[in-house]
Symmetry: C2
Subunit: 477 residues, 2 copies
Amino acid sequence: MANDKKVKAITSMEEDFAKWYTDVVLKAELVDYSSVKGCLIIRPYGYAIWENIQKIMDGMFKETGHENVYMPMFIPESLLQKEKDHVEGFAPEVAWVTHGGNEKLEERMCVRPTSETLFCDHYKNIIHSYRDLPKLYNQWCSVVRWEKTTRPFLRSREFLWQEGHTIHATAQEAEAETIKMLNVYAEFVEKYLAIPVIKGVKTEKERFAGAVNTYTIEALMHDGKALQSGTSHFFGDGFAKAFGIQFTDKDNKLATPFQTSWGVSTRLIGAIIMTHGDDNGLVLPPAIAPIQTVIVPIASHKEGVTEKATELYERLKKVCRAKIDLSDNTPGWKFAEYEMKGVPLRLEIGPRDIENNVCVAVRRDNGEKITISLDNLEQEVAKLLDSVTQGLYNKALASRDSMTNVVTDLDQMIETADTKPGFIKAMWCGDRACEETLKEKAGVSSRCMPFEQETLTDKCVCCGKPAKKMVYWGKAY
Amino acid sequence: MANDKKVKAITSMEEDFAKWYTDVVLKAELVDYSSVKGCLIIRPYGYAIWENIQKIMDGMFKETGHENVYMPMFIPESLLQKEKDHVEGFAPEVAWVTHGGNEKLEERMCVRPTSETLFCDHYKNIIHSYRDLPKLYNQWCSVVRWEKTTRPFLRSREFLWQEGHTIHATAQEAEAETIKMLNVYAEFVEKYLAIPVIKGVKTEKERFAGAVNTYTIEALMHDGKALQSGTSHFFGDGFAKAFGIQFTDKDNKLATPFQTSWGVSTRLIGAIIMTHGDDNGLVLPPAIAPIQTVIVPIASHKEGVTEKATELYERLKKVCRAKIDLSDNTPGWKFAEYEMKGVPLRLEIGPRDIENNVCVAVRRDNGEKITISLDNLEQEVAKLLDSVTQGLYNKALASRDSMTNVVTDLDQMIETADTKPGFIKAMWCGDRACEETLKEKAGVSSRCMPFEQETLTDKCVCCGKPAKKMVYWGKAY
């Protein structure tokens, strides 16, 4: 039976990367635009990816002793204003609720852009003694930031995220928590999303509003732009002092606790798309793929094909997220459809395969076709899914390496930023003025001061004064 | 070692039911009040209950073919106004966002009180042909309704819930979905929360704004007040017409689809508290209890006690959500603490128990102490947890039965409503005026017209005209 659906064509990356990205998110049915300006509808296929991310991360958070809570979505203006740097950073981009029903509110409230102030308000209530510390809390929710320009997953007025908020008796313990959670993020992104990241600390200019130190994992996209993929903040005792949080320590003296927060968002889905995707659409790492293996029968009108394909499906769904497509669409259409949707592995099975007791597996990451015996289907599929993850990671790492350049003076920086997409490694004196000069003249921002420092030269790339740090610079989302 | 913590005392139910309820939610650490008026903080222990509810229900939704999505949290005013009855019902109680950052919005938006209008807007975009139907969507999120008086879990300005939204080619299919999801709710609440419910349909007066029919499950609380615990709405094609959603049917003609929505919220936690709780605190059904079994060592300073208790814990944590309390608090304090938190089963183990190769299990639902052999600990604990669930359900059912009265005329109705807490079964002519009279004179509202109809008399309890339906009446949360 003929079908009216057409194979979906998308813009190529080379032609127009931004258009390619938009084509992928729409045609893979990850999102739909809504009537609410700057806000997205996350469709079932996109939301299933987020659910898989949540499930793995939530497990990692719980294993490291964290508990989930839920805070109000509103912040009264007076509460937002308690920590000076914080309110300066966020007030210009919040949505304000001014009326409840027909009545004007006595005090307007913003929809949370992040919840530090709410957690502090709660901590003040529940923390009295050293016995109440630490509190290791996390929240899954949506937050709102009134952005001018928006792009699906990368920047939208409302987005889904998790925000961890912890409070500790000592600065050392809080700082160790900050680093621990950055490592959890790095492990998750590298192992499950197959995206290599640079771990490091932000410069003062790029710090979160109110933080003493902001740690980050930075990934490099296909187009050579960096994507900040997760951040972890050490607050010192600044918030605690602003909110008057105190506790009685073991020596029965009043002390001030130390805090952290850390978050990742649906931005990670943007990172997956722009790290692994290609001109045929999405490419999903198996760990978070809603469908890990799709079975497509070939010549399914021939006797026994549908039955055999169904038998494979029944076996596979016990070991992975499997799907069988028995629709009346052509095999060619199905191939294109599941390639668009980034399904990591496709199994084709036709009359001749059945005769030979095999099927053909096609890897989404490199297109490789492998004939596998039906006798050990489950093991072979599991192995292939692991290979896809490894293949994706290796490819992304090679791509990042090929797009990482070293420069030693300002002219080189300007030329490289202008002609070569990617990370630029260069030394820095630690002066904010140089950071601003580089932004202005080369269009790059400091992405992070990596934990793995190297000495490229001993002079600042900008002013030539003695260098203090090696920094990753780049254009960024 | 002495401990400064005191056993927490709460108001008794008989003395002041409302105060008892508030004491339980605070002292069991389910919630904390926030600086955001009418909004709650759900603390780790309360949120863990909600996570357990979500996990089971989400599985039931997925088994019945539903997919999760995420819609924007804002609704532009013009979108909210598209369906007349709906906007009338909700506009008076929404929170309005009027400014983004420093700029006044061109059109104000409300924070979603429910998302019918957003789903309709999306359906209009994605539904074209009968091949696109049905869509069986669900969303887990928070919603806002600007309530005047609030109570933890029962009524708050922001609450967590799930809202299912489905769209179908025919009215029959949509109506069947409405009933199917009501049955899923009833099964969940009875089987996992151990709360018996009455399934039925709401009168026109009590219908959801914009619905053709609203189905409900009604539970009876300890104090004799009813709690609407889940609702499922059939919309006919009203929303589809208001939003201009159409599809090409199999005969290539334009047709209008039919819709449903259904929801349960954190109110279910209120239902658990007020159905099973007692003067010692919370009593949790095992299926959703964050801790199912707590192990308390007795005389733990004696040799081998802590080790044996830990051994039991290691065995039990493989088969249930187990906790061991090795803190320096006294056993008596621990007993009171885990009773307050509603842990279904407590295991006590001391030197003499160890000698006899047993431990003592204490059921939270009825206080019964059972000596069990350590040889088959896992099986005995599993059996006991099942017995607790059954015991809770039976007790709640007996309580509901003892608080269900039958009346046949208005005087009886007024007297019964005044003197006997609980459901009142009575016949009704179907006239809204009688419903209003009963509300005014007896203070009761119609809870539902149950699916299981009985003929108590042939006359309306209010006007004496021929009766059409047997109705459950009552005071309600």
